[in-house]
């Protein structure tokens, strides 16, 4: 076992402190807006910390570390792609500023404003399914990370998963966005220190020249050039860039941080400054993965190699800090994701089947119930599901189920006057089609005919999903302009979305499918 007494003390004290803070800030939740978007009072620095913390979980280190181990330096391009994508959104305010101006709390709320309540229901279902499937592997990877770093081995994974999910559910269910924001901040600080210590420890134990030689021996030119790496190629590069652009503006856990910002201008700044951290967020764990390849050799499990290396090189005391930081990262990511998906399930899916919305207390109660149900699902799913390809590609393909259609719907809804309900249905359905085909067909990829086998290439499916979604929006809208005239957004609205949902006609100025 790698853990010493001092490591355990640091870990236990840190966990107790974080949970106490989470419960303490519960008293600041004054209403639904307080629970879901922290009353929309987040300023720039706190917004950057909480956004970055949401986007850095143990799963982030695991999938980036795995990529570094199996592809060498060429995966570093992902860090640059995500940085540029987030920077574009931060600089231009693409999508996030209009959404913040409209004061929506979830992305599907926009569908109701711009299209119809039924589009919101379909968008909510796809977002919920894509989001929960995406989150499905988090727990397992976190369990593997902790069991390897602590030195317990694979037999402890299930127990660690159970403990983690219990802690996170209790913490999220009770506190909401206030707990998420406050503990995100603490966790961002601890995690940054942990990352710095680990990077220094690895740099101290490795010869940089050896890194280049090992990668060249194991991966050849593909270890340095993503365009010739068999796992990547130009299609992967284009897909990941578009996907990052979409995820940045429309992935509910991250976007909710923009929606919680003090103003649209603060939302834009939060995205811009966070974008600057995104290259490091990817490349630091990728570097650890490459170092694991050089120090441990190619015979290790690609998932377990990086955490095993960290367990070996991180000095006593700092190992406790590292595990605390990783647990912290996971807790902030889980709680933000649980809150995001449970709020979508409550406000956009369940409420979509009713004529009127739930009251605030019922919404909060239902959101908490969904958070609990999702937590149980994560445990069951994580224990039996075997992911195809790398964890990174699994996460992006499940994310594309939603982001492809959402990018078509929201971008066209804001910037294209001819976007209508039919286009929105087509974009959502066609955007989800290719990723769903991939997830269903990849188990039988050897026995499929060639025209269908193309969908079992994760990069092809990912890129096609965006092409289909945009084609669906354009063709669907243009073909039905007369039968289904577009609804125009009312930018002057100031009321809260909960009241808007009950009376959608008061916020739209055009004629839509449901209002005729």
């Amino acid at each position: 076992m790698n853990f010493r007494l001092i490591d355990w003390i640091i870990l236990v004290v840190y966990l107790a402190l974080t949970l106490s803070v989470g419960f303490w800030v519960k008293r600041y939740v004054e209403n639904l807006s307080g629970y879901l978007v922290a009353g929309r009072r987040i300023k720039t620095s706190l917004g950057v910390a909480t956004f970055a913390a949401t986007e850095i979980g143990t799963i982030t280190f695991m999938y980036f570390g795995e990529l570094g181990y199996v592809t060498g330096f060429s995966c570093f391009v992902i860090g640059l792609l995500s940085m540029f994508a987030y920077m574009i959104v931060g600089k231009t305010g693409f999508i996030i500023v209009p959404l913040r101006r409209l004061q929506v709390m979830t992305i599907p709320e926009f569908y109701e404003l711009r299209y119809s309540r039924r589009v919101r229901l379909l968008g909510g279902i796809i977002l919920f399914l894509g989001g929960v499937l995406n989150m499905g592997i988090f727990l397992k990877f976190d369990g593997i990370f902790l069991s390897e770093v602590l030195g317990f081995g694979p037999q402890a994974v299930s127990l660690i998963m159970l403990l983690m999910v219990l802690i996170v559910i209790v913490y999220t269910v009770l506190g909401g966005m206030f707990s998420v924001v406050v503990t995100d901040f603490i966790q961002f600080v601890v995690l940054s220190i942990g990352m710095l210590v680990c990077t220094i420890a690895i740099l101290a134990s490795i010869d940089l020249g050896q890194l280049g030689i090992t990668v060249a021996q194991q991966h050849g030119a593909g270890g340095f050039n993503p365009l010739v790496n068999p796992r990547f190629g130009w299609m992967f590069v284009v897909w990941i860039f578009i996907s990052n652009l979409a995820a940045c503006a429309l992935w509910q856990p991250g976007t909710s941080k923009a929606l919680a910002s003090e103003s649209p201008e603060v939302a834009r700044k939060v995205f811009f400054y966070t974008s600057l951290t995104f290259a490091g967020r990817a490349m630091i764990p990728m570097f650890w993965g490459v170092a694991a390849l050089a120090l441990l050799g190619a015979g290790e499990s690609s998932t377990a190699a990086m955490p095993k290396l960290l367990g070996m090189v991180t000095p006593t005391g700092f190992l406790g800090l590292l595990v605390a930081g990783m647990l912290a990262a996971s807790m902030s990511t889980y709680s933000a994701y649980l809150l995001a998906w449970s709020s979508v399930a409550t406000r956009d899916v369940i409420a979509g089947f009713r004529a009127t919305d739930f009251g605030e207390r019922a919404t909060i109660w239902l959101t908490r119930t969904f958070a609990l149900a999702i937590g149980i699902f994560l445990l069951v799913f994580g224990l039996w599901y075997q992911i195809p390809d790398t964890a990174f590609q699994y996460l992006f393909i499940t994310g594309a189920m939603y982001t492809a259609g959402a990018l078509g719907c929201v971008a066209a809804g804001i910037y294209w006057r001819k976007a209508n309900n039919v286009g929105a249905y087509c974009a959502l359905a066609m955007g989800a089609l290719a990723p769903a085909c991939f997830l269903l067909l990849e188990k039988w990829r050897d026995s499929l005919p060639p025209w269908l086998a193309v969908f079992t290439d994760v990069n092809v499916s990912g890129l096609i999903s965006f092409v289909l979604a945009f084609a669906g929006m354009i063709v669907g809208s243009l073909a039905t302009q007369r039968r289904c005239p577009p609804v125009r957004l009312n930018w002057d609205r100031t009321a809260e979305p909960s009241s808007m949902m009950a009376q959608p006609e008061s916020f739209i100025t055009g004629v839509g499918e449901e209002t005729t």
Partner: protein
């Protein structure tokens, strides 16, 4: 060390430095933001409690 490795290691070094510098800055300034957020929320809670008392709830 080959050229590819050198270029990626330089990019890695720059990215890591930017990450840690922003993390340090945000950690210091974010504390003030956090205090302001909780202070405002406390005021909102007090006002709400006061309204409930005035309304005889």
């Amino acid at each position: 060390m080959n050229t590819g490795a050198t270029i990626w290691l330089i990019i890695f070094a720059v990215s890591a430095i930017v990450f840690f510098v922003i993390a340090a800055g945000v950690s210091i300034r974010g504390l003030a933001d956090l205090r302001a957020l909780l202070g405002q929320s406390e005021q909102v809670s007090r006002r709400r409690d006061g309204d409930q008392i005035n309304n005889g709830e």
